[in-house]
């Protein structure tokens, strides 16, 4: 009863995990990855439980139920790890340059990089406002949801005003740094595909083909 399902699932999951392990070796960031993945465990558990509940009504066999829940968890995990690998191995600067190489106008890739650059600054600022409001007796954690929502106004309004002011200052700084002065902007650092990048691409392509072939050969029985 179990075998027909598990066989298929193990193929998929092992392909994903194997691919990712190889990629991690290439990226040399396995340890970071594991630490961020630890935080995802509750989410994966939630997905597992939710998918258990979701199929409960349809009165399917116990084995298939378990199989489907595991399948969605693994799918979710694969999704998370893929994003994780992308952001662990690709700095936003590099991503911006990639966009540039794909002939996407610089304004867009700059916007992306600047947003990433500003995230910690704005987070610091939010923390400062929270501290300032707390020292005036504002309680962010207390009260019913409606009250909490109202208290948050005291955080978002100053944050918004500060951000507007910051936008002006940034615009000035961009002006004096000759933003958009030249039609043909050059880049100081150029991204080049190294041997490791090519190897990574080959591994991904191989795994992808493997899964596709397996699917067309109907190796995954019972896959929803």
């Amino acid at each position: 009863m179990f075998g027909e399902y598990w066989g298929g699932m193990l193929t998929v999951s092992s392909t994903i995990i194997l691919t990712q392990l190889v990629l991690l070796r290439l990226a040399r960031s396995a340890r970071y990855m594991l630490s961020t993945m630890r935080g995802a465990i509750p989410l994966v558990a939630l997905v597992f439980l939710l998918s258990l509940l979701g199929v409960l009504e349809s009165a399917v066999a116990y084995g298939e139920l378990l199989y489907r829940a595991s399948a969605s968890s693994i799918r979710f995990l694969a999704f998370l790890t893929s994003f994780n690998i992308f952001f662990l191995t690709t700095s936003p600067d590099e991503f911006g340059q990639l966009l540039l190489k794909l002939r996407i106008p610089y304004v867009y890739s700059f916007t992306f990089v600047a947003a990433v650059r500003l995230a910690p600054v704005i987070a610091d600022e939010a923390q400062e406002i929270i501290d300032a409001q707390r020292s005036r007796g504002v309680e962010f954690e207390k009260g019913n949801p409606l009250k909490r929502l109202r208290v948050l106004v005291g955080l978002f309004v100053p944050l918004l005003i500060n951000s507007l002011r910051r936008a002006y200052e940034m615009a000035e700084a961009l002006e004096v740094k000759c933003f958009g002065a030249s039609e043909r902007r050059t880049t100081y650092k150029e991204i080049r595909a190294t041997r490791r990048d090519i190897l990574a691409a080959i591994v991904i392509l191989a795994a992808f083909t493997l899964v596709l072939t397996a699917k067309s050969l109907k190796l995954f029985t019972g896959l929803p």
């Binding site: 700095s91 936003p92 600067d93 700059f110 990089v113 600047a114 990433v116 650059r117 910690p120 600054v121 910051r166 200052e169 940034m170 615009a171 000035e172 700084a173 961009l174 002006e175 004096v176 740094k177 000759c178 933003f179 958009g180 002065a181 030249s182 039609e183 043909r184 902007r185 050059t186 880049t187 100081y188 650092k189 150029e190």
Partner: protein, 278 residues
Amino acid sequence: MAIEVSNLSFRYAGATQWALRNISLSIEEGEFAVFTGATGCGKSTLFKCLIGLIPQMYPGEYLGRVVVDGLDPAQTPVSRMAQKVGMVFQNPDNQLFALTVENDVAFALENLGLERAEIERRISKAFKMMGIEDLRKRSPFELSGGQKQRVAIASILALEPDILILDEPTSSLDGATAKKLLEELGEIRRREGITVLISEHRLDLVVREATRLIVIEEGQIVADGEPREVVHDLLEDGYEKVELPKLSRLAWMLGLRGADSIPVTREEFVERFLGVGK
């Protein structure tokens, strides 16, 4: 003449008060001009006029004429002005856009479309000038306030401007860090021969480097001249609106007066003080 301002007045669109009133000022090449005055007195507005952010980015009523390095900032694109006049703002966080220090210093040069070899040459020089070669690969958000400000200045020095304008660059720095930075800016001015304009409240820290001291109050120049003379005149008038060097004030209280002999630095004070006993 590096900068020539004549009868400049400016009022921001929608404001009732004039931010600058009839400012006339000329600054020669190689000077280290310190601008001081209460917050909101118009120092930043004046600086923005010198690079053309006013009136190009901020509309308003603009009277008078400004000539900087032979160019009219009201008519010349800011990106062209910026290659002659470098401007560093108060808050380094809003001036650094890239995710590594190196890319940040290269940013303006990339915008100009310079060749990679030229960018490399210029940023290496800028890093050396600010003494931050070891920060090249770091990320701007893990740096201290003083380091960030150095990166911000290096990113402007990489443009190789003739004139460097710094708008309260030390406002978020502690006294010792600020003093060191200001002294190094004085050193860069002497070595590279660039003109430096800086606004600073703590005159104690900067008076040693200054060749010019300009006091602004409510959009008007109330004192302008050689630092020692300005300090003397302000003490004589009992002017309390700027933070004069403490030792000058002390010397004044001790009766060590005189337009060409009032001490402005520690060494001068000691010399003058011991000299009295002899």
